[in-house]
Amino acid sequence: MTKKLKLQEAVSGSKLLLDTVQHHGVDTIFGYPGGAVLPLYDAIYSHPINHILTRHEQGALHAAEGYAKRTGKPGVVIVTSGPGATNAITGIADAMGDSVPLIVITGQVGTPGIGKDAFQEADMLGITMPITKYNYQVRDTKDLPRVINEAFHIATTGRKGPVVIDLPKDIQAAVVTEINDPFINLPSYQPHTEPNMWQMNHMFKALSTAKKPLILVGGGVNYAKTSHELIALAEKHKIPVVASLLGLGAMPLNHPLFFGFAGMHGAYAANMALVETDFLLSIGCRFDDRLATNPADFAPNAKIAHIDIDPAEIGKIIHTDYPIVADAKKALTKMLELDFTFANTDKWRAELEDYRALHPLTYNRTEQTEIKPQRVVELVGKITDGEAIIVTDVGQHQMWAAQFYPFKEERQLITSGSLGTMGFGIPAAIGAKLADPAKQVVLFVGDGGFQMTSEELAILKVYGIDIKIIIMNNMSLGMVRQWQENFYENRHSESVFVENLQPDFVMLANAYHMDAVKLDNPLTIEQDLRDFLSHDGAILADIVISPTEHVLPMIPPGNSNSEMLGVE
């Protein structure tokens, strides 16, 4: 028999939901109303919780992701049933891929209509099953507090991720005077976060004797907010560090022990470190194919230790010699307590420093006739002194931002890693700015991805959101074009936009009541960017960049980390 709790006053399911969500420390909800969430929106009307009305449900999802990626707190989204809910799918899948905590409340037709093809009905439990950490459909208003408590617990513990709560309209509207036991009841969900100390000692002893040790960090280190412990460990034992895309920021780019971004478009030194290391300690990194481009030949000379909060990641791609299931912060803290005398790494570090000095990430810096995109990123890095939150969309500009921005702190780069979602940028930048209003937010976006979610420009003025938007405009889908040029004999199939028929992005921004400039002069670009970045309020720069530039170096897919094209 379930325990019941009497309420002080009769409340609707909608108010119960908002109160419970607010109780979890949520101050902002992203959403879009519709028929099946009218009762919920009626409750929002008189509720103190803050609601951001995006212009498309996909925008609400990515904004919530930007918010969650910056803060670590779950982003909360409300969308209506049917098309509202299906529009949310891309964002839910993106959050699943990058382990982003989200609570997505999807309206549903009233319980009598479910399963009968009612107007705006879609089977959201079925659709979201493979792209959520868990999902619920609430069938009794009295269960709402427990379901929301559980959803927050699941979304924010262990390996984080999105939880969908499908909420029929009649459940929102029903008024109750008592609720069922609101405490979480998840006997089968017990994420393991404490490292096994025997295994840890065993691993650390082996690491201490390595001649060429290397730490590889992924998103898990950023998500665990454990940059401080990581740097302390690397410094204590003089161990070089490299990062995956989502691991960037965990160690400052200018740190002498940091050898950069590894993987398909990573730095020469970082990739060679992976090839030559004799002991690889990976923390919170899942060996994605953009990093471990050839799993069979990945870190071929190394014993591999893998610390991950998700046991299912260990051994999934790369054979692991020392598996450790743990939260990155807990594991790093324990490692700092262990006392082992480490082998001298001077020679190894000198070797990597040579690689870094001889083959830095580079581009044609003397080019005067066109604006090099790498230069734009470098200049933004210089002008913002590496202090801005950098948000990107997906494509070439994303890689240039990863390569050339001097990241200084954890959670500074907000990007769609796993799913690689074009259209992520604008709404994610909005969410990041709302999460951290004191920080400058700079968005790099391509002219392709910009057009996927440009409708969200409409809300910048409405909510006073000050973001700096840089369109890296090469009149093409640059990454597609680059692959076509490398692997499809230059056949530009549907990857180049019709010249002179692209929208006028400056006029478009003006139409959304925001300022905008077009920058196309390579000789004045530095001053132009200074003016742009010191502008008061949101502004867009349409920067005409080289239309032929490639992201280099590049490891062709399936090749080993040593087989980089374009290394000078």
Partner: protein, 162 residues
């Protein structure tokens, strides 16, 4: 290779869907699956037989199933001492003059006749997959009209001296 997994799961709506969804996403072929309640209320046991190419594959499948919110525990019991049984119902073409011959053939399988009609009989048998398949082969020449199998269910043997 054939692997038999057992799982204890919370008996929630959609749990079987989640469970098999994970396997289909990995393109793991399910040979049989059976589900039923256990001695504990709200907990069901799933017994699943899958065909995989490598042990590494089954290890990953077990890990990915184990991390699901509704799953209490999944184990690969193939290499552990275990019990497994399935039930088969077979309707065989059986004219009167062949019936005694059929009875003799199925007797070593300890199959029982559970329904008799004018031209057919229906038999039932319980056993391991191997035994069930041997029985099917034995009665096949008479003409099988209908066949239904439950799929394997099972669990590990209790350790001796416990």
């Amino acid at each position: 290779m054939r692997r038999i997994l057992t799982a204890k799961v919370l008996n929630t709506a959609g749990v079987l869907n989640r469970f098999t969804g994970m396997l289909s996403r990995r393109q793991t072929n399910i040979e049989s699956i059976s589900v039923g309640p256990t001695e504990v209320e709200h907990i069901s046991r799933i017994t699943i037989v899958i065909d995989v190419n490598t042990l590494n594959e089954v290890e990953i499948v077990v890990k990915q199933l184990n991390r699901m919110v509704d799953v209490l525990r999944v184990r690969d019991i193939t290499d552990l001492p275990h019990l497994e049984r399935e039930v088969v119902l077979i309707r065989i073409h059986a004219p009167a003059k062949l019936r005694s011959e059929i009875f003799t053939i199925i007797q070593p399988f300890r199959a029982s006749v559970i329904d008799v009609a004018e031209k057919t009989i229906t038999i039932q048998s319980t056993g391991t997959t191997q035994k069930i398949e041997a029985l099917i082969r034995s009665v096949h020449p008479y003409g099988i009209k209908k066949l239904a199998r439950t799929g394997v269910t099972g669990f590990t043997r209790e350790k001796e001296g416990k």
